[in-house]
């Protein structure tokens, strides 16, 4: 907390300053001791839609993982920028403008009737608040028959009051080729990271065809069943498909989305039917690629990777343990003006952790959303 003596009142009597400082410190530390429970969303949803699963809405036990997730935009927390590496070591900085480094398991075929039987799609649309238990793509297990590994799937996330695309590499059911499987996952599965979401509903019919670089997605109208989708979300959701399909195909596109074979007005906001390419501005300024949400990693040096294009190229990273204590932090500097890969590493004993990356606010913390711009958090464990 900044030890500023004067508050928002310029005319505060000077004799109040020491008291104000004491109060500020006490309130901050008192707040840090509050451990909000993790079942709020369940209980809110229950209040809205009636009980869904377990009856009884008793508050769950406070969880220790109350770290940086959901740091408030409007509380001027001071990022520990000055404190560089405490335990962690900046391993290095790759300057690669790498894009989707996917390893397609199956080459895209010319025509892919992609409508798997329900048994091929065991995870299906996950209920709100839960994540499908896909293994992290980095796992070295043998591939399950009928699924594809390392498939890039994009999701929608909000930051700075804007919507952005974020990428996860997923193990997804094989829906007839990597492109169809990726698109189907984007429309019917849930993101691993609870900070992401998508307005798409699982379509009853989905056909993906490729011809050269061109990709055509023909989907049933029930994919648009979400209501109240505004124009910005609609545009981002359409780009979610464009980015997912082109990443999986490793092609520049274009991507044409049809609804039952014809042009369509998506959520009353985006005209579909014409070939589209990637909107470069849809991509989030900071991606944290690994570890994936919920990953379990071997103890020792843990390497974190991502890509970013932020002001002055500054990326601040922090690792907190299950008790919310900062165990490692530091920053990396990447080139500006293009997306570059960044990486850092920390040596961590067994335990649960939350890693966060953000770009420090260039405006000096005056932004009402605080100074942790484009923050990404990821929960993982080390054993």
């Amino acid at each position: 907390m900044s030890p500023t003596d004067s508050g928002p009142f310029a005319d505060e009597p000077p004799e109040h300053h020491p008291t104000a400082r004491l109060l500020r410190g006490a309130l901050t530390r008192e707040a840090d001791m509050v451990r909000p429970g993790d079942h709020g969303l369940e209980r809110i949803t229950e209040q809205l839609h009636g009980p869904a699963g377990v009856p009884g809405g008793e508050p769950g036990p406070p969880t220790p993982l109350a770290g940086r997730r959901g740091r408030p935009g409007w509380l001027p927390w001071v990022a520990g920028l000055a404190a560089a590496a405490v335990v962690g070591v900046i391993a290095g900085l790759a300057v690669v403008t790498s894009d989707d480094q996917t390893v397609p398991v199956a080459a895209p075929t010319r025509s892919e009737p992609a409508d798997p039987t329900p048994s091929v799609d065991p995870s299906g649309p996950a209920p709100s608040g839960t994540s499908p238990s896909d293994p992290p793509p980095t796992a070295t297990e043998a591939p399950v028959t009928g699924s594809l590994d390392q498939v890039p799937v994009y999701w929608v996330g909000a930051s700075r009051a804007s919507l952005w695309l974020y990428r996860e590499f997923r193990t997804v059911p094989d829906a007839g080729g990597v492109v169809a499987s990726a698109v189907r996952a984007a429309m019917s599965q849930s993101p691993l990271d609870p900070d992401y979401s998508t307005p798409w509903r699982q379509p009853s019919r989905l056909d993906v065809t490729t011809e050269g670089d061109a990709i055509t997605i023909d989907v049933s109208a029930d994919a648009f069943a979400s209501t109240d989708v505004g124009s910005d979300l609609a545009a981002t959701a359409v780009q979610q498909l464009v980015w997912t399909a082109t990443a999986a195909a490793q092609s520049p596109g274009p991507v044409t989305v049809l609804v039952d074979g014809a042009a369509y007005d998506a959520w009353g906001a985006v005209a579909l039917g014409e070939p589209m390419t990637r909107d470069g501005d849809a991509r989030a300024p900071i991606w944290l690629d690994t570890p994936t949400e919920g990953a379990d990693l071997p103890a020792g040096e843990v390497t974190f990777t991502g890509q970013a294009n932020v002001f002055e190229g500054n990326i601040v990273w922090e690792v907190e343990d299950a008790g919310g204590a900062l165990v490692a932090d530091g920053f990396t500097t990447a080139a500006m003006g293009e997306f570059v890969a960044y990486t850092f590493a920390a040596t961590l004993p067994a335990g649960r952790y939350v890693v966060s990356v953000h770009s420090p606010d260039a405006s000096g913390g005056e932004s009402p959303e605080g100074d942790r711009m484009f923050e990404q958090t990821r929960t993982f464990s080390v054993s």
Binding site: G7, L23, V34, G40, Q47, P72, G230
Partner: protein
């Protein structure tokens, strides 16, 4: 809090405002970004985490029903904050004086001297704060924890700026004398 985040200088990647999500998505996104901090704020205002969680849940339910009129995560964030402050005030009205006099948790005995001393001071400050009138507590928490400006507090609490100032000054003055009494003169 009414001002908009300005574009990040240089990266040119800020998109215009007006991000519009559906109510379910908005609920999930806003929950992820606001739940914990709102519970913390409410816990400071109420002195109880479980009561705080209830107030914040209610605020999210209200936000969900109102989403078609908010349509913007930033506006919804302000709405949530105002709902929480309001909710805490109503909750306060229904609680008895004893809550305000409930002592904070005892300081942890272990730790270096410095930290133990700080915990003692914190405990004294919190005890003194809890003995202030509810309105003064509310304003001091909003000001010194949430760093809300005079105008923001006036809007949130629904009183004039002048009253905000008066309450803050009285509250801070009372805290100061309470702490001075405790320390046997001056802090």
């Amino acid at each position: 809090m009414e001002s908009r985040p300005r574009a990040a200088a240089g990266d040119g990647r800020e998109r215009p405002r007006g991000a519009v999500l559906d109510a379910e998505t908005a609920l999930r996104v806003l929950y992820a970004s606001h739940w914990r901090q709102l519970v913390r704020l409410a816990a400071l205002l109420l002195g109880s985490t479980s009561a705080a969680e209830e107030v914040v849940q209610d605020a999210f339910v209200a936000m969900y029903h109102r989403w078609h009129r908010l349509e913007d995560p930033a506006a919804a964030g302000a709405y949530l904050r105002a709902s929480v402050v309001n909710g805490c005030r109503s909750a306060h009205r229904h609680r008895q004086v004893e809550e305000r006099h409930r002592p904070p948790p005892p300081p942890e005995p272990a730790g270096p001297d410095e930290r133990a001393e700080q915990r003692e001071v914190d405990a004294a400050v919190m005890t003194a704060l809890r003995r202030l009138p509810a309105r003064q507590q509310e304003i001091l928490v909003l000001r010194y924890y949430a760093d809300a400006s005079e105008g923001e507090i006036a809007d949130l609490v629904g009183i004039s700026r002048g009253s905000v100032k008066t309450h803050a000054h009285r509250g801070l003055g009372a805290l100061r004398s309470a702490l001075a009494d405790r320390a046997g003169g001056g802090s």
